[in-house]
């Protein structure tokens, strides 16, 4: 029993490798990392096994093909792009796997973000200031300019106080104004200190664009100038009205008399009750605010007066109101 030949079990006994081990050692053999004894054993196995030869050939081809694949490279542009440090947003997108979200969800989220931004802007933006800015541009009217250097100089002469219109007539159209019988465009005295009043836009193209009115400095005017300087902050009012009467020729003078009786003074350039057109008289005047109700009552005797109170950049002194009333002949 013990006489039978058995292959040696140790390396020294030069044991042959089994086909399985031989095949598994083919790659190591090709790599050249086997010791001499193993190398010889694998070679001996390959000589006897056609399968091992084919396997070895496949490994060689695979190795050669893999080496050929090394020729594929990455462009420098792509390398730079990948090497660039990622931004916070890109990291956020990557971590949240944004590109894998359903399209509907993405669009919904984007719409939500847009709505949120719009609502925030609409809520936070100081719209009142923006509107004020828009209203103030182009509609600013410089009523008076106070020359302080002239105020300090002593008065040279006591000038005659000229009765000058305090306000520029705003209700007259350009064409109509050219027909004005008493334009009184510029009234100037040499008195100092002077208050320079400037009003724009000019009522007629024929006249100079700005009107300069110089008069004696009175406390009332000074206070008016001061109030004008701070006029941007406060807002004045203008009463505009219209009334249709029967027999304008008779009623017009009565209204004029009543206005004067109530302490009214003409404002603007034209006289009280100026005939604007045939069948229409124009009253631009100031009266004490306390008399306003009485005036309304008086006017109501002749017709239904429609008077509205509108905002106006010009601020009137306390207790004084300014009115522009158009008295028209009632249509039959």
């Amino acid at each position: 029993m013990s006489e039978t030949k058995r292959p040696a079990l140790s390396k020294k006994g030069q044991r042959q490798v089994t086909p399985f081990t031989g095949n598994e050692l083919l790659y190591d053999y090709m790599s050249g990392i086997l010791d001499e004894e193993r190398k010889r054993a694998v070679e001996a196995h390959m000589e006897s096994s056609r399968e091992a030869q084919l396997d070895f050939q496949k490994i060689q081809i695979g190795q050669q093909y893999a080496e050929k694949l090394r020729q594929i490279t990455v462009s420098s542009a792509l390398q730079e792009r990948l090497s660039a440090p990622s931004s916070y947003l890109s990291v956020l997108f990557r971590k949240s796997k944004f590109d894998q979200w359903p399209v509907g969800l993405k669009w919904g989220l984007e719409a939500l973000v847009v709505v949120f931004v719009v609502v925030t802007v609409l809520t936070v933006a100081p719209w009142e200031k923006v509107m004020k800015l828009r209203l103030s541009t182009g509609s600013d009217v410089v009523l008076t300019e106070l020359n302080k250097s002239q105020i300090k100089q002593p008065p040279q002469e006591a000038p005659e106080t000229a009765e000058t219109p305090q306000f520029v007539d705003e209700g007259i159209k350009v064409k109509e104004a050219t027909t004005t019988p008493t334009p009184a465009a510029v009234v100037t005295t040499t008195a100092t200190p002077a208050v320079v009043a400037k009003a724009t836009p000019a009522p007629t193209p024929a006249k100079p664009p700005a009107k300069v009115v110089t008069s004696t400095a009175t406390s009332e005017e000074n206070s008016e100038a001061e109030s004008t300087e701070s006029g941007k902050a406060s807002t004045g009012y203008l009463y505009r009205g219209q009334i249709a009467v029967t027999n304008l020729d008779a009623v017009g003078p009565k209204i004029k008399d009543k206005i004067i009786e109530l302490g009214g003074r003409k404002a603007g350039e034209v006289e009280l009750g100026w005939q604007k057109t045939q069948g229409s008289a124009y009253f631009h005047f100031t009266i004490p605010e306390a008399k306003y109700a009485e005036l309304q009552a008086f006017l109501s005797e002749y017709g239904k007066a429609k008077i509205s109170k509108d905002k106006h950049p010009r601020v009137m002194p306390d207790g004084i109101i300014r009115l522009i009333i158009s008295v028209d002949e009632a249509k039959k």
Binding site: Q60, Q64, A66, I72, L78
Partner: protein, 155 residues
């Protein structure tokens, strides 16, 4: 982390995914991960780091991959020789096991030493060689159609 490491990581995902979008996405993640690890431990072996990070990202992303649907274009920034036939690799990428595929890429294409691959994966060098042997056998059988002349020219 230098240009060669960035290139290696990018090429790894190119061969592993054969999909431009996925490859670039995974490369970005792996490069970022590599930078972070290198910052924490500057002594880290670059090859081991590449194996670890690419394997980590691959493990996360390969489940979503449908192998056998290559989607690559040179417009994405890959530079390929005109005479190179990617057909055998496409087949290999589709048929090979994960271990075989990754072993060939790391060892034979990126030329990372087997010792570093073993260290990065936490396995023995013998295991790496075993996987390589099987993988090359499979790849060789697929590449047998490719002209032997062409392959010899590479040698």
């Amino acid at each position: 982390m230098g240009e060669s490491e960035v290139k290696s990581i990018t090429l790894f995902f190119f061969f592993a995914f054969l999909d431009d979008r996925r490859a670039l996405e995974a490369s970005t993640q792996a490069i970022s991960l590599c930078f972070d690890k290198k910052k924490k431990n500057p002594q880290f072996n670059n090859n081991v780091l590449i194996v670890m990070t690419t394997f980590s990202i691959w493990t996360k992303q390969h489940l979503k991959l449908h192998r056998g649907n290559p989607n690559i274009s040179t417009d994405a920034g890959w530079m390929m020789p005109t005479d190179l036939d990617l057909g055998p690799w496409r087949e290999f990428q589709k048929l090979a096991t994960q271990d075989e595929l990754l072993a060939v890429i790391w060892s034979k294409i990126l030329e990372i030493p087997e010792k570093d691959i073993a260290q990065g994966l936490g396995i023995s060098e013998g295991t790496v060689r075993y996987r390589l042997g099987r993988a090359l056998r499979k790849l060789g059988s697929l590449a047998q159609g490719v002209s032997t002349k062409k392959l010899n020219a590479v040698k």
